[in-house]
Amino acid sequence: MIASLLAQAGDWTSPSIDWAALAPEIVLAIGVNIILLLDLQLAETKKWAIATITGFVLLGSFVAVVVLAVTGDGARSLFDGRYVVDDYALILKALFLLAAYVVVLLSQTELEEGGYYQGEFYVLLVCSVLGMVMMASARDLVSIFVALELLSIPAYMMAAWNKRNRKSNEAGIKYYLLGVFASAVLLYGMSLLFGATGSTKLTDIGAALLDGDLIGLDVVAVVFVVCGFAFKISAVPFHQWAPDTYEGAPTPVTAFFSVATKAAGFVALMSVVFIAFPGADGVYQPLIWVMAALTMTFGNVLALRQTNIVRMLAYSSVSQGGFILMPLAFAGEPGVGPAALNAVIVYLIAYAFMNLGAFAVVIAVTRKTRSGEISSFGGLFSYAPGLAVAMTIFFASLAGIPPLAGWFAKFNAFKAVLDAGTTAAYVLAAIAAVNTVIAAAYYMRVLRVVWMDEAPDGDTSPVKSPAPVVAALAITVLGTIVLGVLPNLIARAGAIDALTGAFAG
């Protein structure tokens, strides 16, 4: 028996693992277990500590990312190139962790006052973030799919967090059903892709697609994969779940969905488009072009008609998704690739700050007004000038007014599209320009209510915001302004250019 065991042992060599490169993920995975264990041991009155610990876990992971970024020289490639930790991955990991931290700050009071189960919430949140952090490095269909499920499944439950609320249940079930459907479509595309190319590794797929003509099977596979991700980024026509889910889910969770989950979808799409599909640009470019145009238009037109602020932000988030998607429609044009990648990443970062900020203001205000109607924001300036100013900054940034982060992001996206220099590019840029104007209309409408109108119920007692929400506001305001004034900070994300070359080459 021993002999047979030894013979087996001979076949097997364990993979060499660069543990340092996996540090952020490992910190999060251990953190999940610590939170879970502590939650069981803490009495109900001490549950607030969980939020603090979650913050520290995210911070620990963030430190690991920063250390990797500072000390790392070049990309670290694990498992034969299936898991890569490079600048692109690190900057996105940092983004996810930061967004999650802000969400923790926003949820803390909400959960305590709502009497929601706190421990489980943070466990699911950290698991979801773990999936996102993994997604940033995944360069293999298997890891991408596992990461996608890991970030989605906790999200389904978080959407249905408020079990007493019918709308929250509706949000959860809609998100779940459509998310699972999207996963199925994606998986089908992936299996066709694997069947056609014989590999799950993105670089191998890229090489196989570049090699020779594209056959029908490849085309179907590429379309399915792109559509699968389109659900996650709520691109029209795969957006139907978004408004209902965003409205029904607890507001901090909505902030998380509209920023982090969406960014993760974009990250997956970018990895696939830039590494695996350079040979299929004739297929995905028109597809993304149409989706981007539809997404921004539909999102905006519907946002114009909303009277509920969260629903309006939901549609605005859909339309912003269209802007983020726009550069990817020309990712395969010669010379545009690096600019497109840079534009998307810059947009994602800027969007994270301003959208989280907008939700933070909404949370702070609705704590007092207990209403989600836009009209209930009337007279905000008279009784909460700080919040009113913050809100102005975020909405102006979302509308793309200089010198805020959103302006720079939009500028970058337009630049990348115009770089392509084709008719299709000019048409899309024109559509985007029109949409920018429409978007400005409904953002300004809210701001007019905030600055001009009277408080609807005459209640002008000041808003008392809890410290975590104030901290979240501070982070997001700072981010939005600094990125707008000193765009070079994230234009440094242009150092990713070098990497795009490695991708596409």
Partner: protein, 192 residues
């Protein structure tokens, strides 16, 4: 391996009939229990296809996990909740839905079918081409060893993180089925 023999055709097509028949059964059966049994038929057909492709381990796991655990749980829930009455499937709240779905389905089948037929010449996939099958390696446990090397070698990180997914599933299930604390105010109206 030699060319496909008559026996292999028989196995393939009978399994294909099982898969498709079961799948059609799942969506057309009026009784949820019958639909679940249709699902079992489909899963069995897939297991047979796995065996025909020499993926014995996958076939066994397919039967154990899907037929043996997941559908049994489906049935358990159907029986426990008492939703095992036959449904009238002719009621349709959104009238356009079904014709549209039919058109979509036919279109999709045509598209994928055409793509596969066209791909036949472009992709020369002989048994063992691209993916080393157990038959090549020869030994008894080759199939399982190969799977293990793959899972614990190249995909070990994704494999390990799947365990986090299990934690999520457990925590989430406990949470969704747990009773809501009594003293919490109803938040129906106040949610922004």
């Amino acid at each position: 391996m030699s060319d496909a023999t008559f026996l292999e055709f028989v196995v393939f097509f009978s399994a294909a009939v099982m898969i498709l028949g079961g799948a059609v059964g799942v969506i057309t059966m009026k009784n949820p229990v019958h639909a679940a049994l249709g699902l079992v038929l489909t899963l069995f057909g897939v297991a047979v296809q796995f065996v025909a492709m020499q993926a014995h381990f996958l076939a066994a796991v397919q039967v154990i996990v899907y037929a043996g655990a997941i559908v049994v749980l489906f049935l358990f829930v159907i029986m426990l909740l008492g939703v095992d009455e036959s449904m009238d499937l002719s009621i349709e709240p959104i009238p356009i839905q079904r014709p549209l779905a039919a058109v979509m389905a036919v279109g999709l089948v045509g598209l994928v079918g055409a793509a596969i037929v066209r791909a036949r010449d472009a992709l020369i996939i002989a048994p063992g081409d691209g993916i080393a099958t157990a038959a090549d390696a020869g030994t008894h446990d080759a199939n399982i060893k190969q799977l293990a090397t793959n899972l614990y070698g190249d995909h070990v990180f994704a494999f390990q993180l799947t365990s986090v997914l299990l934690i999520v599933a457990v925590a989430g299930t406990v949470l969704l089925t747990r009773k809501w604390p009594k003293d919490v105010a109803d938040t129906e109206s106040s949610d922004a």
